[in-house]
């Protein structure tokens, strides 16, 4: 024993009562982390908050404005006005509830089984109930904050239009809180059961796919149900049928229905305590039930979560085929492309987003199909202007897809940047691979969407050519912007790729993409109008207008493609990690 160690051995440890850290103590590091992030002297943080705050305020104002107008109109409708308002609230809240359920299932897996602090907490003298409480609270906060933010302008609109009074915010809080707790507990219990059956990593894959399928199913169902019929009562056989539909709750067993009933009962001065009681008692029972399940299954589940699922990935015929196809690119670029493709298709949190994408496209085409563009009063002008406006929607869909699949590209290299930077590969090669692996499929998709929808709309050859030309340009521009912003605002530390598009950089990317798309449409509007006028009323379109309009649109897209990539390249070359 060394001399230094000897004094240590002379000390004896006095026996004390076992430590019992409180719930607050377990949550303290989360608070400190949030505080440290908000106070960090990171350059540009203040400006970022200001911009985020400004756009958040705009978004709130927009939601509030739309709902305010709608509710004012409903309030003016005798008898059925409140029913319409209640139905709308019910629809919104059931949408929130569905989103919260899905979100909590995914988040609970991370909070309870995969979070980095679990080794410390589970190996420490932490009471099981307090651990459950801390992790449940963490799950609910992480999965619900966005829905909570969206609910603020919504409840405000209801409170203002129906004179909810000073107590209304408290009432809304009292209704909304259990609506957040219940899906949180359900999500954590569902995850607990699944993890006990599958290893955590496989559970994440399954949950990702289930979540996306369910989200897609909800969107499809919502669209097929065609809720716009409610706004056209002439579709019903009689007023009685219409009112009957309005009166009937979507489901009397759903907490969202109780919440909507509680709010409307307060706003209509006929306060009904039953929905409040149902909400809070259900939340309480859920928490207790969840705690008991946790006590029974958590330890076993957590131990199982340390296992990783066995995965074999054999390189067979597909590998040989891709090697042959990509041979002209050279060794380095070929390996980069293969790496991107393999990583994408082996990560279920990535490829499962393709399912949602497929649903988006189906809904998009469905919407086009039901446009009333046939029959009397529909002019040649109108038929051909619609596909031009269709470009805006298609462009928006492109931007959303690029946000999911191209924008996170550089962020996902965060932990492996050491390998790429220490290799004799230029950052230009890396960006090249990221750009083309993302853009080519996007291009095929974009041309496909526009081609199919233009075919359904039976547009002229000129409009078909304009649409395809524009969407190709916009695709490159959107991809360039995604690469640029993704590099300028990387999220290297995130564990979940799906969270990257919802960052500040993702928001800026979407805004800039929308500006470029709008710019292209505005620049092309004049030549398109000139052509359609000539076709409709005779004469020739002005060639100068045509060249100028389409030329400027092309220049805008080329600039939006090249400039962000060049800036990104410079940034990447100077990046230190």
């Amino acid at each position: 024993m060394t001399e230094a160690a000897q004094p240590l051995m002379r000390h004896t440890v006095e026996m004390t009562a076992p430590p019992d850290p409180s719930l607050l103590h377990l949550l303290w590091p989360k608070y400190l982390t949030a505080r440290a992030r908000s106070l960090s002297g990171e350059r540009g943080r203040g400006a970022r908050f200001a911009i985020l705050g400004f756009f958040g305020f705009l978004f709130w104002s927009f939601i509030f404005g739309v709902l305010y107008r709608l509710l004012l109109y409903f309030r003016g409708v005798a008898e059925i006005g409140p029913l319409l308002a209640g139905k709308l609230l019910g629809l919104i809240l059931i949408g929130f509830f569905s989103i919260l359920l899905l979100s909590n299932v995914i988040t609970a897996l991370s909070s309870f089984f995969l979070a980095k602090d679990l080794d410390l907490l589970v190996s420490g003298p932490v009471d099981w109930l307090k651990l459950y409480g801390a992790k449940l609270l963490e799950t609910i906060v992480n999965s619900s904050w966005m829905v909570a933010l969206m609910a603020v302008p919504m409840f405000t609109a209801y409170g203002v239009v129906y004179d909810g009074g000073w107590w209304f915010p408290l009432i809304a809080l009292g209704v909304f809180l259990p609506l957040l707790i219940i899906p949180g507990v359900i999500g954590s219990v569902a995850t607990l059961v699944l993890v006990n059956v599958f290893p955590a990593r496989r559970t994440r894959d399954i949950l990702s796919v289930i979540a996306v399928l369910a989200a897609g199913g909800i969107v499809l169902l919502f669209r097929i149900v065609r809720p716009e019929r409610l706004a056209r009562p002439e579709g019903f056989r009689s007023l009685v049928d219409f009112v009957a539909v309005l009166r009937t709750p979507t489901s009397p067993m759903l907490p969202s229905e109780w919440a909507s009933e509680a709010i409307m009962s307060w706003l209509q001065f006929r306060l009904d305590y039953l929905p409040f009681y149902l909400l809070w008692s259900t939340a309480a029972v859920a928490v207790v039930g969840g705690a008991l399940m946790h006590r029974w299954l958590y330890v076993k589940g957590f131990s199982k979560a340390q296992e990783s699922g066995e995965r074999w990935a054999r390189s067979g015929a597909m590998h040989r085929m891709s090697m042959t196809l990509l041979r002209p690119l050279g060794i380095l670029k070929r390996e980069l492309v293969l790496k991107e493709v393999r990583l994408f298709f082996r990560d279920s949190t990535q490829w499962s987003q393709l399912i949602l994408l497929a649903v988006l496209i189906v809904v998009y085409v469905f919407n086009i199909k039901y446009l009333p563009l046939r029959g009397e009063g529909i002019t040649f002008f109108l038929v051909n202007v619609v596909p031009f406006l269709n470009l805006v929607l298609a462009g928006f869909v492109l931007a959303s897809i690029a946000a999911r699949f191209i924008f996170p590209g550089v962020s996902l290299e965060g932990r492996t940047l050491w390998l790429l930077r220490s290799s004799p590969m230029s950052m230009g090669d890396l960006l090249w691979a990221k750009f083309w692996v993302g853009t080519l499929p996007l291009l095929i998709l974009a041309v496909g969407i526009v081609g199919v929808t233009n075919y359904m709309l039976t547009v002229t050859a000129f409009m078909f050519a304009v649409s395809v030309f524009s969407i190709v340009m916009m695709t490159f521009a959107v991809a360039g912007l995604a690469i640029g912003f993704g590099t300028l605002f990387p999220q290297f530390e995130t564990e979940n790729a799906a969270q990257i598009p919802t960052s500040f950089g993702g928001l800026l990317f979407m805004m800039s993409a929308i500006v470029v798309i709008a710019g292209v449409v505005i620049l092309e509007a004049r030549p398109v109008y000139s052509y359609l006028s000539a076709r409709s009323y005779g004469g020739q379109p002005d060639p100068v207008e045509m060249i100028l309009g389409f030329g400027l649109a092309l220049l805008l897209c080329v600039t939006a493609t090249i400039v962000p990539i060049r800036i990104a390249l410079r940034r990447l070359e100077n990046l230190e990690r």
Binding site: A4, R201, E335, T416, L419, S422
Partner: protein
């Protein structure tokens, strides 16, 4: 083979590396020792071209890394201290990918990859995704990736972390053999026994500056430590107050 000239790295007002001058010739196994936060990792990452120096120069085989990074890095293999790699690639795919970064492919690469995986007992894991590898296995895979393209220079940060005794022994033998064949290895380590037995020369760095550099004999003379081991020399050159402070803290 590796030449550092007044190499400096500052983060704001904090100087991580303060004007290091160093030369590592061909065929030498050079050790970089220092307490935590001394600037070892920062120095190695500058040599590997991951960090840009605030001032000074790094040359690999006579090529300035700042002027012609691609050519300089063609001669280099880097092994970091934290083995983060692509979790969704298999071991074999990862080695193939790394070789591809150095413009190498084909049967020779496949043969080398097989040999390296067999050397580190990873042969039966070659087609498993890296996400199922343990920490030690990932470290072995990364070490293999540094050798797969046969670089002239290998820069390695804490090579022994996570390795079992057998793998550690294999790695030591591999390093020795590699330098005997005329290649150069520069490594940082906390394992003084490894530095003492393996390295031809050792530099001791503290607070961003080199305190001493030379063979074991030269370091002994520098520390006027007599016939003592590297641990005593290291503590003498970097201050041995830590042990006394430890007792004071525990007594408090």
């Amino acid at each position: 083979m590796i030449k550092l000239t007044q190499l400096t790295k500052k983060y704001g007002s904090f100087t991580a590396v303060a004007g290091i001058d160093l030369e590592v010739p061909k065929g030498e196994l050079f050790g970089f020792l220092g307490p935590n936060g001394a600037g070892k990792t920062t120095s190695l990452r500058m040599i590997a071209g991951i960090l840009q120096p605030t001032s000074g120069r790094v040359e690999i085989g006579g090529i300035d890394v700042a002027v012609d990074p691609v050519s300089a890095k063609m001669k280099l293999g880097f092994i970091p201290d934290r083995p983060f790699i692509y979790e969704k690639l298999t071991g074999a795919e990862f080695l193939r990918f790394v070789a591809g970064l150095f413009d190498q492919e084909g049967e020779r690469v496949e043969h080398r990859a097989r040999e390296l995986l067999a050397l580190f007992d990873l042969e039966e894991w070659r087609d498993e995704l890296v996400e199922s590898y343990s920490h030690g296995m990932r470290q072995k895979l990364i070490i293999s990736s540094a050798f797969v393209h046969r670089p002239e220079v290998i820069v390695v940060d804490e090579p022994m972390i996570g390795l079992d005794p057998k793998a550690a022994r294999i790695l030591k033998d591999l390093f020795r053999e590699y330098t005997h064949r005329g290649h150069t290895i520069m490594m940082s380590t906390h394992t003084l026994e490894v530095a003492e037995t393996l390295c031809d020369r050792i530099a001791i760095i503290q607070a961003g500056k080199i305190r001493a550099c030379g063979t074991m004999e030269e370091l002994r003379k520098h520390a006027t430590a007599g016939q003592t081991g590297l641990e005593e020399i290291f503590l003498k050159l970097t201050g041995e107050n830590a042990a006394r402070e430890l007792v004071d803290v525990l007594d408090a």
